[in-house]
Structure formats: C-alpha cells, structure tokens
C-alpha cells in the first residue's frame, strides 16, 4: 500500500483507544511517580468517548474525523493532556480536511502541524520532559523516511521507533513543564507519562496501518 486510507485512520484510532485502555494503570503509575496519578485515567476517558465519535462518523473524510476526535478529547480529557492531544488532532485535521487517503508525505505534514500545535499551546521545548520529547523525534524520523521515499508503513514504523527512543530519553531528564516540574531534581529517573502515551499513539499507527 502506498497511501493511508480513511479505514486505516479509523483502525489506528481504535487501536490507540484499545492500547490506552489496556495500559491505563501503567500510564497512571508513571504519572503517580512525578505527577498526580491520572494520566491513564484521563486518556482512557477521552479515547473511550472518542470511540463513540469514530463509530458515528459516516463521511470518509480524514480531516473531519480527526477534528471530531479532537473536539471530543478537548471536552472529555481535561488536565494538561486534554488541550494538548486535542490540539494535536485539531492541527492534523487542518491538513487533512476532505481527504480520504494520504500519502506518506501528507501524513508527515499533518503530524508536523500537530506537533507544532502542541508546542505552541504548551510552550515546551525538547528536553523539558514532556510529550514533545516523543513527538519531535518521531516527526523528524517520519520526515526523513518519507523524504527517502519509504512506504507509509515504513514511515510510521520509523516514527514509532524514534518516539520509543524519545521516551527512553525522558527518564534522566529534570522536568521543566507540567506538573512534574514541581518536583525539581526529584523528577529525574522517571519516564514521562505523556511522552509514553505519545509513543503508544504512534506505535498504534504503525501497527494498525502497517498491518492494514
């Protein structure tokens, strides 16, 4: 396959909802260590609600679907991750409006817009120990793979792998944004929950779309 179709996107979102539900406790435990023990709960509340939106969505319009998911996340997640994930999907939707399939390059454009939206909203930089630390390497790796003419499946795999490395890299960091920043030095030695869920998001894409 050389494009990502509407059904692939649906599969991706469903897979993400499934893995968030499955790893809910794990994400919450990560947040307990350096935050307030709700990240898994927050994401699961949002993605469960998003499932309804996905089911109800009739038009094969990737942008419209991503926008509907974004709005649902904004109105159900709360916390820091609600506006951040909401913004990620919302910005992706602006690049994919009307499309029923995306080339690898279009996907990378959308993801880049999503990442830029997250940065604009949360003002975190690389190394602040946030989801940006997973998102930015993922965007870079995806772009590189797409520029090299790789298949969508390979592009998605590359971005998921880069996100995984980014998540690892958050462990030693001292948080400078979000709730974990209140811990100062004590935040070092723990993996960032938001970066972790971001990796799960991108890994779900690689799994669902690569397999499709």
């Amino acid at each position: 396959m050389d494009t990502i179709g509407y059904r692939d996107v649906v599969g991706w979102l469903r897979a993400f909802a499934a893995v968030v539900s499955e790893k809910k406790e794990f994400l919450t435990e990560l947040d307990a260590a350096i935050g307030d023990a709700d990240h898994g709960i927050n994401m699961n509340r949002g993605m469960s609600a998003a499932l309804g939106v996905i089911d109800d969505h009739a038009k094969e319009d990737i942008g419209a679907l991503l926008k509907a998911v974004a709005m649902k996340l904004i109105s159900t997640v709360g916390g820091a991750s609600g506006p951040l994930y909401g913004t990620l999907f919302l910005q992706m939707s602006t690049r994919t409006g009307g499309a029923s399939e995306l080339t690898a390059a279009q996907w990378v454009d959308a993801l880049t817009a999503g990442r830029d939206g997250v940065v604009a909203r949360g003002k975190a930089e690389m190394g602040d120990k946030t989801m940006v630390d997973a998102l930015t390497p993922a965007v870079d790796a995806a772009r590189e793979a797409a520029d090299a003419g790789e298949s969508p499946a390979a592009v998605l795999r590359a971005s998921a792998d880069a996100a995984a490395t980014g998540v690892e890299a958050t462990i030693p960091l001292v948080a400078r944004k979000g709730r974990a920043s209140y811990l100062g030095e004590r935040s070092a030695g723990h993996q960032d929950p938001g970066a972790t869920s971001t990796y799960l998001l991108l890994d779900a894409a690689a799994g669902a779309i690569g397999a499709g």
Binding site: A32, G78, K177, R179, S181
Partner: protein, 333 residues
C-alpha cells in the same frame, strides 16, 4: 481503597447531585457539562466571577458559589482540570453583561483549558479576563518552568474579589484586585500521608511511618523534600518562614493568616499550628488581622496542612469582612 463512594466514575457527578439536593437555595447545578452557578445567576450588570479545577479539593470551588463570592464553578474529574466546554457554558450562564473573570490556578492543564474557554467565550462576544493564581513558594518561579502553583491564595482571592464584584466594581477593577491579592499572598503546604484518587485506587505516593513531605501541592503530588516527621512547632516554622521571606513581610504589617487542612488533619491540630504561627508572627511584630482556619482547599483525605499569608490593607480587610453566603463560607448573611 476504602471510601464512601459508589463507583470511581460517579464520584464527581454524585457529589454534585448531593450539592444540588442540599443547596438549592444557593446554587443551580448543570450536569452536562458540569458546572454550578449561584441561584440568581446571571446577575444583571454585575461583574461575574467563575473558577474551576479538579475535584477533590472540596469545598473549593463549588462550596464558594453564592452571594459575595463566586458566580459559578466548574468541577473537573478528581485532580484533573475541567474542560473548556464546561467553562464556556458556565461563563455564558453567569455573564450579566459586565463580563466574566476567570480565576485560574496555575497548573498547565487548568491554564490551557481556561485559555481555550476564554477564546471561545470571547468569540461569542463575552468579555473575559483571566487571572492566574500562583502563590506556592514551594515551587521555584522561573521562566523555564511551569511556575509556581496556585493554592491557598485562590480561596482568599475568590472571597475578596467576590465582595468587590458584589459592590458593583468593573471587570477590569476586579481583575486588578485579583492580581493584587495574588501578588500579596504566598503559601506552603505539607503532607503527613498521601491520598488516593478514586479512579487510581491506591495512594499516589507512599510515606514511611515517620516521614513527611514538605512543599506539596494540592493534587497528592509529592513535594520537594521528604523529611523525618517533626513537631508542630518545627513544621509551622518550615512552612511559615519561606512564606514570610518571599512576601517580604516586615514589622508592623498585618496579615490574613489562613491555616488549612489538606483534608485528613483534624481541627484540633490546626489550632495547634495556628498557635505556633501566632508565636512566629508575634516575634516579628506582624499582626494577624484576620484568619481562616479549617479544611477549605483540600486534597481528598490527605493528612497535612498549608499556611497562606495575605498582606492586608484596609480595602482587602473590608472586602474580606463583607457579607458572604455560600455553602462553605458564610458570615454577615
């Protein structure tokens, strides 16, 4: 986890129904999205004030809705910021044409969600100002971090600004007053135990039998320092001194002293802490002009306390004394 709840998912909505059942004379409750407004909202021509934040800090904020304090409040899930749709609908429900002040505690989630809501409300033609409260001296304030957290000063700002709004002051005025309260208030908190978020089912952190956390926030998040548990006198000094320093309080000044229970610490201990605080302030010739003692901004059942000091001037004292009639704070009415 043992709690008087039915199921973790229903904690916030059922508590809200309880508020509705108890306080129909004071508040009107909307369930989807969740918010509550004073019974007579919107008050035509009055600057309206709303606040909101994660649940689990009761009585804040719902218990502060009523005459002389908040016009509305948006409860999020436990320890999770509410969402922009709640804030937007609440803003619309309280706007009496004179604009709406959003009192926002400085947490990334709260700030971002309130920003989204303010944008949406302005888009619908409602004048909105937002003031971010960040009084927690336990957190270093820096351009490169999320900045200080909003804690105890929130309660004081809601009371003082509520009184000013009730007097007919403009949105700009009330917002400026809110910034003044925030600029003149600092807090520091500590925990003897953790608390358990219902949906998580186990304590957020574990504290040894003779440990305490100094510099905690209000979300059950660990503090800056874990120390051996100490006496009330030592703990009070650890909390009060950084607050006094950071505020730059000097001899002859008068403060509102707010000794707050995090939930699980009983009143008898708060009075012991208040007694210690009085001694510390007396020694520096700082007068306790007003006080507030009790569980007002809590973290579920966490044992511990926080101290907030607000530098008083005549106007703030007068506004503090003004009548207030809410579920949790009431006087002169």
């Amino acid at each position: 986890m043992k709690k008087l709840i039915n199921s973790p998912e229903d904690v916030v909505s059922e508590a809200l129904r309880g508020m509705e059942a108890a306080h129909a004379d004071l508040v009107r409750v909307n369930h989807d999205p969740k918010y509550l407004v004073r019974a007579d909202a919107p008050v035509k021509g009055k600057t309206a004030i709303i606040s909101g934040g994660g649940s689990g800090h009761e009585p804040m904020h719902g218990g502060f809705v009523g005459r002389g304090m908040l016009d509305g409040a948006c409860p999020g899930e436990v320890f999770t910021s509410p969402t922009p749709d709640q804030m937007l609908d609440c803003t619309k429900a309280v706007d009496g044409g004179a604009g709406v002040l959003h009192i926002v505690k400085n947490y990334t989630g709260d700030v971002m969600n309130f920003e989204l809501a303010a944008d949406l409300a302005r888009g619908e033609g409602i004048e909105v100002e937002a003031v971010v409260i960040d009084d927690d001296v336990a957190v270093k304030d820096s351009l490169y971090t999320a900045g200080r957290r909003g804690v105890g000063a929130t309660v004081l700002a809601e009371k003082v600004c509520g009184a000013a709004a009730e007097e007919g002051r403009s949105l700009a005025d009330v917002a400026q007053l809110c910034r003044d309260v925030n600029a003149n208030a600092r807090s520091m908190g500590m925990a003897l135990t953790s608390c358990t978020v219902p949906a998580a089912g186990k304590p957020t952190f574990e504290l040894g039998d003779d440990e305490m956390e100094i510099g905690i926030g209000i979300h059950g998040e660990p503090g800056r320092e874990r120390k051996p548990a100490a006496s009330a006198s030592e703990v009070t000094a650890m909390l009060a001194e950084p607050v006094i320093e950071d505020l730059g309080l000097g001899s002859g000044e008068s403060v509102l002293a707010f000794v707050n229970s995090m939930g699980g610490t009983p009143l008898i201990e708060l009075y012991i802490v208040f007694n210690e605080l009085k001694a510390i302030l007396d020694a520096r010739n700082i007068t306790i002009g007003r006080h507030l003692i009790g569980p007002f901004i809590t973290s579920l059942e966490m044992a511990g306390c926080s101290i907030t000091l607000l530098r008083l001037n005549d106007e703030m004292t007068r506004l503090w004394d003004a009548p207030v009639h809410t579920a949790a704070l009431r006087w002169g009415a």
